[in-house]
Amino acid sequence: MAIRSLLSINKKKQKGVIVDRNKENSFPADLMTKCPECKKIYLSKELENNLKVCTNCDYHYKMTAWERVSILLDEGTFESFDENLRTSNPLKFPSYLEKIEIDSLKTGLNEAVLTGMGSIKGAQVVIAIMDSHFRMGSMGSVVGEKITRAIEKATEYELPFIIFTASGGARMQEGVISLMQMAKTSVALKRHSDHGLLFVSIMTHPTTGGVSASFASLGDLNIAEPQALIGFAGRRVIEQTVREKLPDDFQTAEFLLAHGQLDAIFHRKEMRDKLATIVKLHQKGGVSNV
């Protein structure tokens, strides 16, 4: 749980939202971290200073949406959108809203995605960042609506749209309404694309199900973080269906790259630079004026 302590790095008052991200997470156990991949034990501070990437084996820890804002965007430029949207309970699932409330308090987000506008090395972009700490990043009405509104704003302001996905897929508790968010976000992306605008999708761990089968796969550039799990169906479901052994690297970013399903894999350390370059190369009027 050491990564939790990192939640405090973006504690300054974000546009209108006051959240104490530090409270429940600052206990001594957070001082040390054991890498789940290579089992190396090191100081949590070391991990924080390395963008939550294992210094020994390059394992990319999950990040919160706010953490990504702070490592990607120019300082102080991020303006969050649509924090006034709240999840309702269309299918009347018992304790659904309570679960939302708990995750909302835990993450400081109104739902599993943070959307807004900011700049990367001076270039204005609209960005959406999913947070798997909120209901596994699953997509219900609010997630679909926030992403769609962000895309529409990017279209309106003629800006690139960038998304970091992290999701288990459509949210079951909102039933077929969740499924339809796949279509809603896709029609919005089509309109954005028809305006000649850039969309970059960066798939982070994990990106599966309905999110993988909609906006996550629709980038002009489809990028992933190293070792991220990306796929349509779950590994267990596939194993039960086909009754064959799946390779160890099945559905990893590297597996997808090898099968021609990704444009590139970017290490977290180079993400900001590469994204800035991609945005620059797509600016209207060429790159010379930047």
């Binding site: 939202v17 006051i18 959240v19 104490d20 969050s80 924090e83 006034n84 949207l85 709240r86 999840t87 309702s88 269309p90 299918l91 909302s104 308090l105 400081g108 009405s141 609010v142 679909g144 609506e145 459509a170 079951m172 909102e174 039933g175 077929v176 309404i177 969740s178 499924l179 339809m180 968010q181 796949m182 279509a183 809603k184 896709s186 029609v187 919005a188 992306l189 089509k190 309109r191 028809d194 309905g210 993988s212 089968a213 909609s214 906006f215 996550a216 796969s217 629709l218 489809n222 990306i230 796929g231 349509f232 169906a233 479901v237 596939i238 269906t241 086909v242 099945f250 099968h259 399903q261």
Partner: protein, 335 residues
């Protein structure tokens, strides 16, 4: 005679009893016409009662009925001059999706649909109507072809879902589905989708970004199967019946949620009891929708589709404080 389903057992039993009485009366030389008449009236009442009060789970059973009409059945009944067109031009031909050109009341159209088999042998060939990426890519190829020749597109949705397999993942199942959602959004011709059986998740939606969406009365459309929902919700797949109810997957549920445009009423007991009558009902529905859509311009069709999906979603929008400079500032306290 097709196999009876659990919920219709009383009807079947009564029907058998009447048959039995008729046999007895014939051989025993006694007049039992009054008794038989009474029972036949009761049978009629029972049929009405059972077939008009079907539970979601009953409808799931009908939707999954082995003899339920498939895309091909409707193609044969509703359209003429059908020519099947195969292949995605890059990997292969996925028989879990069937597509082609035909005429509908004299008008050229493109038809695309999931295709189940009715026998085990056919189901193996068609992978139980669960497509691989090449199936979705074939569908998209035929949609773009329809667009070129300004033909309306009719899609039939009938799948448990996109196939969850190793090869499907390797060839980009997610991307294939996503690309269909994206490209269908921009089609310059009318698109009508009809759920005729099971509409399972993204694999169904990939033929569903339409101007008009209809569901046969006993079909279902859902984000996850009732069994899948039950095992996640209650860790018990045998509670599928309850899940079918909780997940709101029937045509009536989707109509109430304003996701679909209309319900195509089924013949009593389900479409499999009279394919021709069912096809006629469906034909009229498609005809009416096409009449509405053909008057729209290309831009209007695209905007119509946009608006249709744009409005789907249920959430609460809290009041925000509007500052003097017009900038919206959200005041939310979390703690």
């Amino acid at each position: 005679m097709s196999k009876s389903l659990d919920f219709e057992v009383p009807v079947v039993k009564l029907r058998e009893k009447i048959q039995e009485l008729k046999e007895i009366a014939k051989n025993a030389d006694v007049d039992m016409s009054t008794e038989i008449e009474t029972l036949e009236t009761r049978l009629q009442q029972l049929e009405t009662k059972i077939y008009t009060n079907m539970e979601p789970w009953d409808r799931v059973q009908v939707a999954r009925h082995a003899q339920r009409p498939t895309t091909l059945d409707y193609i044969n009944e509703i359209f003429s001059d059908f020519i099947e067109l195969h292949g995605d031009r890059s990997f292969g031909d996925d028989e879990a999706i069937i597509g082609g050109i035909a005429s509908f009341n004299g008008q050229p159209i493109t038809i695309i649909g999931h295709q189940r088999g009715k026998t085990t042998k056919e189901n193996i060939r068609r992978n139980f109507g669960m497509p691989h990426p090449e199936g979705y890519r074939k569908a998209l190829r035929l949609m773009k072809q329809a667009e070129k020749f300004k033909r309306p597109i009719i899609c039939f949705i009938d799948t448990k879902g996109a196939y969850p397999g190793k090869a499907a993942e390797e060839r980009g199942q997610s991307e294939a589905i996503a690309k269909n959602l994206f490209e269908m959004a921009g089609l310059k011709v009318p698109v009508i989708s009809v759920v005729i059986g099971e509409g399972g998740s993204g694999g169904a939606l990939a033929l569903g970004v339409a101007n008009r969406i209809f569901m046969l009365e006993n079909s279902t459309y859902s984000v996850i199967s009732p069994e899948g929902a039950a095992s996640i919700l209650w860790k018990d797949a045998t509670l599928a019946k309850q899940a079918a109810e909780a997940m709101k997957i029937t045509a009536y549920d989707l109509k109430a949620m304003n996701i679909i445009d209309g319900i195509v009423i089924e013949v009593a007991g389900g479409a499999h009891r009279d394919v021709q009558a069912q096809a006629n009902e469906l034909k009229e529905c498609i005809h009416n929708a096409l009449t509405e859509l053909t008057i729209l311009s290309e831009t209007e069709l695209i905007n119509d589709r946009y608006d249709k999906f744009r409005k789907i979603g249920e959430f609460i929008e809290e009041e925000v404080e509007v500052k003097v400079d017009g900038k919206v500032d959200v005041e939310v306290e979390v703690n």
